[in-house]
């Protein structure tokens, strides 16, 4: 009995295989963020365009809905939707609920960015394009898109980085991404400081290159 107690250890130290576990979890963080940001950006551009063209009734309705996504903590949105789907008869897994919420969260943030981009193009420039015979969509494609993109790309990158970091909250629903993986390891190894530092380094490695690249791009465009 004594020997058994000696041979079983409930806690084991941080091992090399745990790094692989964290790397896999980092892959999941990347997956859910890339998915949410790409779908959310497309939706957000549509919403932004709608906001910029619609008369006040449409703009107010859509604006209010998008505003709610921006003014309610993401953690509450996640819990709400995760509990709402079973109510209407569609129980969903944490990944689906998390992605759903993150997509709309991203689209709400991107919508105001996209609207800003469209409004950054002087109306005179657009009138000039139209009077040169361009159609509305040609004007959108060849005039508004390139000029507006330059104006708001840094803001968009900020949103994308924000979503990458906010995706940590999906751990609340039980999706094993980077932060949740760290909690699992902390429970086993009882070394929160070490593991949180390693996970912090993982997040930093994901986020820092993007923020640096955007900053240098912004600087180059300002010249």
């Amino acid at each position: 009995m004594y020997e058994l107690a000696q041979s079983i250890r409930f806690f084991s130290d941080f091992q090399a295989s745990d790094l692989a576990f964290l790397a896999e979890a980092a892959g999941r963080t990347l997956l859910i963020s890339v998915l949410s940001v790409s779908v959310g950006t497309v939706l957000g551009c549509v919403f932004g365009w709608l906001l910029s063209v619609s008369r006040w009734a449409g703009a107010v309705t859509l604006g209010l809905i998008l505003d709610a996504f921006r003014s309610i903590p993401l953690i509450i949105q996640l819990i709400l939707f995760f509990n709402f789907f079973p109510i209407i008869g569609f129980p969903v897994n944490p990944f689906a609920a998390g992605t759903f919420v993150l997509v709309f969260y991203t689209s709400a943030l991107v919508a105001s960015v996209a609207r800003g981009g469209i409004e950054a193009v002087p109306i005179t420039t657009r009138r000039a394009a139209r009077s040169l015979g361009m159609t509305y969509w040609q004007d959108m494609r060849y005039i508004v898109w390139p000029i507006g993109l330059r104006a708001v790309l840094p803001a968009w990158a900020g949103v994308a980085l924000g979503v990458l970091k906010d995706s940590a909250l999906v751990s609340v629903l039980g999706y094993v991404e980077l932060l949740r993986a760290s909690q699992i390891l902390v429970t086993r190894t009882q070394e929160p400081f070490l593991i949180l530092t390693v996970v912090g380094a993982f997040y930093f490695a994901l986020s820092f290159p993007i923020s640096r690249a955007t900053a240098s791009l912004e600087r180059r465009w300002q010249k």
């Binding site: 709610a68 509990n83 109510i87 970091k165 932060l179 949180l196 996970v199």
Partner: protein
């Protein structure tokens, strides 16, 4: 749909929720004030250009901006235990939010200070103003105007981020909601009401700051 909504338990606990909302506001405002002070110091340190101290400010700002707020919260909550520091939930949230706010605000302040032309400082100095007068009357008012909007946004983020306190056992608005919801299993109802309270808080902050900005920046 065979789910029956029960709103009564939620409304009976509404006073508790509103009280917890005040706690949320309190911790968010305190973290914001500390964040502004630390952010100003960090921005000045970074602009001072002394290598021996700028690395500290730079790493603070980059860590605060490039890791999730939740990770920072866990760090203050669980990570500091390695050094024998055990904070109460309130202090965990306050420290983590201040750390995060300071990092984001420092960048805004840095941009603000850089936007005030050097020639203005020289002009003020040659008009006989002391260094302190120059800063108080010429530089700071302009910086304040530039960073006012980002600061308002950061205040909103501060409120939203404080909701993470739930995960370290802090009974602010979200934590209290979770506590009450787990007693009654009316999770959706409780969190919907809480979402509305957050929405109102954020709108009040944004509206208040707009009114204040009319008063402050009339000229």
């Amino acid at each position: 749909m065979d789910y029956t909504f029960h709103w009564r338990p939620v409304f009976r606990k509404l006073p508790d929720l509103l009280e917890a909302g005040l706690l949320t506001l309190e911790v968010a405002i305190e973290a914001m004030l500390i964040g502004i002070l630390l952010g100003l110091v960090l921005a000045m340190v970074r602009l001072s250009g002394r290598r021996s101290i700028t690395w500290f400010a730079v790493s603070w700002v980059e860590i605060a901006r490039n890791t999730p707020a939740l990770l920072q919260l866990f760090f203050f909550g669980f990570g500091l235990g390695a050094f024998g520091i055990h904070l109460s939930p309130f202090w965990i949230v306050l420290c983590a939010l201040s750390f995060n706010n300071a990092g984001y605000l420092a960048e805004n302040f840095r941009g603000g200070f850089q936007a005030v032309p050097d020639t203005q400082i020289k002009a003020a100095r040659s008009l006989g103003m002391t260094y302190a007068q120059t800063y108080l009357r010429i530089v700071i008012p302009q910086v304040l105007r530039i960073v006012y909007h980002p600061m308002t946004n950061q205040m909103v983020w501060s409120v939203l981020m404080s909701s993470l306190g739930m995960l370290v056992g802090f009974r602010e608005l979200t934590g209290e909601t979770q506590f009450l919801a787990s007693k009654t299993f009316r999770i959706f109802e409780y969190f919907l009401v809480t979402a509305i309270i957050y929405y109102v808080i954020v709108k009040v902050i944004l509206g208040g700051s707009r009114i204040l900005s009319w008063r402050l920046f009339r000229y």
